[in-house]
């Protein structure tokens, strides 16, 4: 049913600013991004927000809707309690630029530190062979749209600001997707333990809760990587075995 709702949108620059109230007329089937666009069209043409596909695939429209990191284009208005004002704020974990826009470029610098795919030698007939059942596991991680909602919600970054020491869930699964690849021969276990800081993750699964692609970030990515780190660095019997056999 068309109706008027109260929107509370953060406006400001470089972290300085305030929540502004807008009464907006909404129609059936609208998502939060539509309402932001309507505010731009009718009340605040200078309201900055980032978006691109409006289909939950480009990962640009991430924001905090009623305190929850979400894609604005995938959050239907009828999924929210419209009796109460709806708060829309920028992602809290990254430097603020303007209004709903934050600077997520830190993520790209982290990505560059991950060693790229290194295929093993080709077989005698000059081909690489792998099977679908072997790559199903890493294909789950490739659904990532780099919306950085998981990075935003992760308390290690959000509440403790460990951007220097912890790569964050998005890059835990990117590392996992390379490390578990059947053709890859690179070793990223030392990276994920030391620079990646996997030990900071306490598997409380907020990343998994917010991922719009429903990737099992913790169960299928981070925990298996923690087990590999445990194999190498925390398993006394395995370590002794390696010392004795030199393997």
């Amino acid at each position: 049913m068309p109706r008027t709702v109260k929107m509370k949108v953060f406006r400001g620059e470089k972290g300085e600013g305030a929540i502004h109230d807008y009464n907006v007329h909404i129609d059936d089937g609208m998502v939060v991004l539509d309402v932001i666009h309507r505010i731009q069209a009718t009340q605040a043409p200078d309201l900055a927000c980032r978006w691109n596909c409006k289909a939950g695939k480009c990962g640009s429209c991430s924001a905090e809707v009623n305190g929850k990191p979400s894609l604005m284009c995938m959050t239907r208005m009828d999924s929210l309690d419209l009796e109460k004002p709806i708060t829309v704020e920028p992602l809290m974990t990254f430097p603020h630029v303007r209004d709903l826009v934050t600077d997520v470029s830190w993520n790209y610098t982290v990505n560059k530190r991950i060693k790229p795919f290194k295929p093993k030698a080709k077989e005698a007939d000059g081909t690489h062979r792998m099977f679908q059942y072997e790559v199903d596991r890493v294909q789950e991680f490739r659904k990532c749209i780099e919306c950085y909602l998981c990075q935003t919600v992760c308390h290690v970054l959000r509440n403790h600001g460990k951007h220097e020491e912890f790569a964050g869930p998005r890059f835990m699964i990117r590392t996992a997707s390379l490390e578990m690849h059947p053709l890859d021969v690179e070793d990223r276990v030392p990276f994920i333990k030391e620079e990646g800081g996997i030990g900071f993750c306490n598997i409380t699964k907020c990343c998994t809760e917010v991922c719009p692609e429903h990737i099992h970030i913790t169960d299928n990515g981070i925990i298996p990587m923690k087990e590999r780190v445990a194999d190498r660095y925390y398993d006394p019997i395995k370590m002794l075995f390696r010392v004795l056999t030199g393997k």
Partner: protein, 256 residues
Amino acid sequence: MAYPVPGTREPFLATRRLDAWWLAPLAMGISFIVFIIYATWSALHPMGDDPVTYHVQTNYVSPFFSPDLSKFIPGFTWSPALLILWIPAGFRLTCYYGRKAYYRSLTFSPSACAVGKGQREYKGERALPWILNNLHRYFLYIITALVIFHWIHFFDAFRFDGHFGMRLGTLVVAADTIFLTLYVTSCHSLRHLVGGKIDCYSCAAAGMARHHAWKGVSILNDKHNLYFWLSLFTVGFADLYIRMISSGCWQDVRFF
């Protein structure tokens, strides 16, 4: 109002979330505390001459007191439960799901997603004490023996005065055994051990078999959190039930 910049810490439990985010951690926290208090009390209060088999007419055995290792330690006069309970306690404390549950409900780290933690130092699982959680696999190895004992008691729970029978207690023991087994066989460390550690199944020895094993554990693993709680409740209830019928407070319902 200045908007929090990176590294700024939201005040403890502060959030703009409007949903009942506090409900799950509260329920988990209460469950843990009730269980810990009951289990500690029960462990320190063995009943009867033979604390392992509470009830003389049945073969029900409390999971808290079995196996009775005190027989092998001359002069050990404390409760035999103390020789056993560190195994499931350590297993659950280091369990990947258990960690999530108590970090959220007991250490508030964080209590829920996008909920403030206040000012505090955080080292996660890189420093003591939580770095010890990396030893989970060793508890997995040890608890496997305990699972075998639970199955022995499962079969014993069908014997009454030498005859085959079934009572309500049989179901209570069965629930404990089945959920404990599901909980252990859905473990993340087991998933890694049976095949998760392999990248190229088509190149590894017995690769196909290990891929199937990994797949199987993965299916169970999807419900690991559910089995964690079901097995926690049923193990506690099994001890309580056996204690109650052996003290005569409750009557065991006889099916045949």
